[in-house]
């Protein structure tokens, strides 16, 4: 799993590639906390290169969503497809995270 963040004009873009699962999620949690602590008005999570997500990965994204929402910010995901999209639809996250 690879990830990167960029920020401009009070928008933080988080790009996650590969697999966000029980094996890799520990590598990203600190960065997710850092994003939330910065309180950007908008957070965009680019999942166009995410191949696989499991319940652990979902938990991490939902945790970030709740943290951002708590201070009045917004979080959306982009490029969700394949297996991650199937997971989002089952858990009804597409209604909340996909604009």
């Amino acid at each position: 799993m690879l990830f990167s963040t960029s920020a401009a004009n009070d928008v933080t873009v988080l790009r996650i590639e590969g697999e966000l699962d029980a094996v890799s999620v520990t590598d990203i949690r600190a960065s997710l906390n850092t994003i939330a602590e910065g309180k950007p008005a908008r957070v965009e999570v680019d999942l166009s290169a995410l191949r696989l997500i499991d319940s652990s990965g979902v938990g991490a994204i939902v945790s970030l969503f709740k943290a951002v929402r708590a201070y009045g910010g917004s979080l959306t995901t982009t490029g969700v497809r394949g297996q991650p999209l199937a997971i989002f639809r089952l858990l009804r996250l597409d209604r909340v995270l996909i604009p």
């Binding site: 699962d21 029980a22 094996v23 696989l52 499991d54 938990g59 939902v62 297996q83 199937a86 858990l91």
Partner: protein
Amino acid sequence: MPGTISFTRMQGCIIVRLEVPGVIQYRDIMLRTLSATCKLIAPGARARSSRASLFSAHLVSAVGEAYNNIALHGYAGREPGTIRMEIEQGSDWIRVVLADTGASFDPAGARLPDLDALPESGLGVFIMRSFVDEVTYVPGPPNVLTLFKRLDEPHEASPNSRRRGPAQRV
């Protein structure tokens, strides 16, 4: 023996067996083996069918969550044993059997999550049960979890997908 993989063809079915140490780091090996096996289902159909891709996505998701439960919970607090996986692939179906010697946990006992509350945990069993047609569990040792999924009939992921089939032993 951990780390071994075998391939057998019997009566029109393909059987793949794999055994790995029961730790989370070996999850990827299991799922990639399963994903490759899914491609053997109606190979011509896979090229033209988004349903075949969805079949694979659902089954890999379900088995991944089952694997997580064994590695992270079944073997928690103890010296991990192994996880044995047997994939039986028919013309339009796949049966996956996972066996372990960790703590028993019957997925039928798991509570349904409240999705409206956006839970951050407790979703694994729900995902597993929703994405396959049949789930059976026989506590052990070894604990034996069987997941069955068919390609032919359009399968909309449903939290009620928990019809029970015959128990399988590896």
